[in-house]
């Protein structure tokens, strides 16, 4: 089976079949190397390792679960077809590609239907014992947040999405093609802008 090159590349020998345990501490670079040697297990490990956050980024930018799954899977298909060099930053590459793809998807979808409008139509999960007044307030509040997000420039929306997905500053920098030193500034501005946009939204809705 295909696990052996990973072990060999990682300097691990032996006949144990518990590859998942063995690959736990193997670096992305080692897995990339093994992958380039044709080891499918190495690719699978990279997938398990990075898919959840790649999906999370796509979901937070597109706001649509099915789109996020498609985008996230597509990124891994591309990685599989064109394995990166051994010294490449896999996570950074994955985040950059999925961020760009997700933003492109949002742009193209905007022509047909506002992405946040789709969210505005969906309702938060409701518990049986929720107070109806609280539920209404919650829905209203979420709708304002979505509307406020829609007011932000693309880059600010993206940085909020990436941070919410749990990416570090260096990962966000790689994804958005900016210097790591600029992430804090961009993030602080985006957070302030979101709050301002929310206040504006509230004023406008209140004035209706």
């Amino acid at each position: 089976m295909s696990g052996r090159p990973v072990r060999a590349a990682a300097g691990i020998e032996g006949d144990t079949t518990d590859v998942s345990a063995l690959t736990l501490n193997v670096s992305d670079a080692t897995l990339l190397h093994a992958m380039r040697q044709g080891d499918e297990r190495a690719f699978e490990e990279l997938f398990s390792r990075h898919y959840p956050r790649v999906h999370s980024v796509a979901y937070r930018i597109t706001g649509n679960r099915e789109d996020a799954e498609e985008l996230a899977l597509d990124v891994f298909v591309r990685l599989h077809r064109r394995p990166l060099e051994d010294d490449a930053n896999v996570a950074g590459w994955l985040f950059r590609v999925v961020t760009n793809d997700a933003l492109n998807a949002v742009r193209s979808r905007k022509r047909r239907l506002g992405w946040l409008q789709r969210f505005a139509r969906s309702e938060p999960v409701r518990r049986l014992d929720d107070d109806p007044l609280d539920v209404v307030a919650l829905q209203d509040d979420a709708a304002r947040v979505r509307a406020a997000l829609r007011r932000l420039p693309e880059r600010q929306r993206a940085v909020l999405a990436l941070r919410a997905a749990g990416l570090s500053y260096s990962e966000i920098a790689a994804a958005l093609g900016m210097r790591p030193g600029s992430v804090g500034t961009t993030l602080a501005r985006a957070e302030r802008a979101l709050r301002d946009a929310y206040d504006t939204e509230e004023r406008e809705r209140g004035g209706r």
Binding site: M1, S2, M35, G38, E40, R41, F43, E44, F47, S48, Y51, P52, H55, S56, Y59, R60, G63, R65, E66, A68, E69, A72, L73, F76, V77, H80, R81, R82, P83, F119, P124, V125, R126, R127, L128, D141, A142, V145, A148, L149, L160, A161, A164, S168, Y169, G181, S182, V183, G184, T185, T186, L187, A188, R189, A190, E191, R192, A193, L194, R195
Partner: protein, 393 residues
Amino acid sequence: MIRHLLRSHHGGCPDDGTLRALLDGELASTTVAAHVGACRRCSERLDALRTDADWASVSVQSVYSGVAPDTQRAWYALAPRLHSAEEGTLMEVTPAPWNRGAVRLATALVAVFAVVAAFMFTPMRTVANDMLDRFRVEKFAVITIPMDLVSPFESAFLENLGEMDQSDLKARFEALGSFTTTLGMDSARQVGSLDDARASYGEFDMPDAADLPNGFTSAPQVFVTDAGSATYTLDTAEAQRIIDDLRLPIYSLPDPNQYPTLTFQLDVPAGVALLYTGGDGRIIAVAEMPSPTITFPNGLDMNMLREDILRFPGLPADIVAQLRAIDDWETTLIIPIPEGADSRDVKVNGEPGILITDPLLGSVVLWEDSGTLHFVAGQLDADALLDVANAVD
């Protein structure tokens, strides 16, 4: 924006971006932290940034809560695409990984049967009938489960938990009953030929090679699964104590003095699965097994148990409505499917069945014929898969 620019240029003070990085623990140097500790203006700026950051974090998370990606499911969806690349691959792709995929799929089939069996709901019987209750599959019903079903359950449960020590409760749950099983996730094993499977399982139905879509191998890989059973014996008195402590609305347990233990048994017969591989990496699985059964213990009031299930804290109202719409609980296999998957009733060789289509995973057809459950799954469109199912005889 102007106020941000103004904020960022006080002589000697760090800019907003640096302070924001400090909040997230992204600064290696301790110089900035020391400065903020000594500078009232920067301390106030840091507080303002923290307020914005916390507000934005809660707001953004609230909009997107409740979606946890299913990596395993995504992998099954991804794998066929890797091998149906429209352009040439730089990586050498050998058949070996797909053998592994086939074994996984076969194992998954067994898991599907096991999980599906575990989701079987209780049969409706009269309270007066003190005979053993037994559930057997004759029909199917599908209910749609929200992706974030777990979180309302968890929150409802934790609310009831109150101050109780969670680790203590875990230990009590583990001591609540004893579980034995001969069912294994790895019980699917490949055999060399169809005759080997017949020797192990007996006669089974399969499609003719001519009925498969173009490009699929005529000789399938053959797997058999062994029969097995799982038994859970519950300590009734301890269960009642936990229910009381957690104030759970469960009323179906019998008197512990009369029924000190309750034993549930799941029996899963042997099965057979055939895996046909397409040139593009897609797979069609054709499987069958006699209906699994669940035997319920004496003393359990099935009507009340059903009501307990339907009333369980956190169970969303639409699921309750879907479950209540099922009129025959004795022989209806209830299959939970995620949001995004579709299902419809179909006829397969004249027998009623159900077709479930998932946008990522593909389609599956289930039907029952003379006590045997049939299962055809594959990454085909629904009509093509139904054609294969109708060819199974």
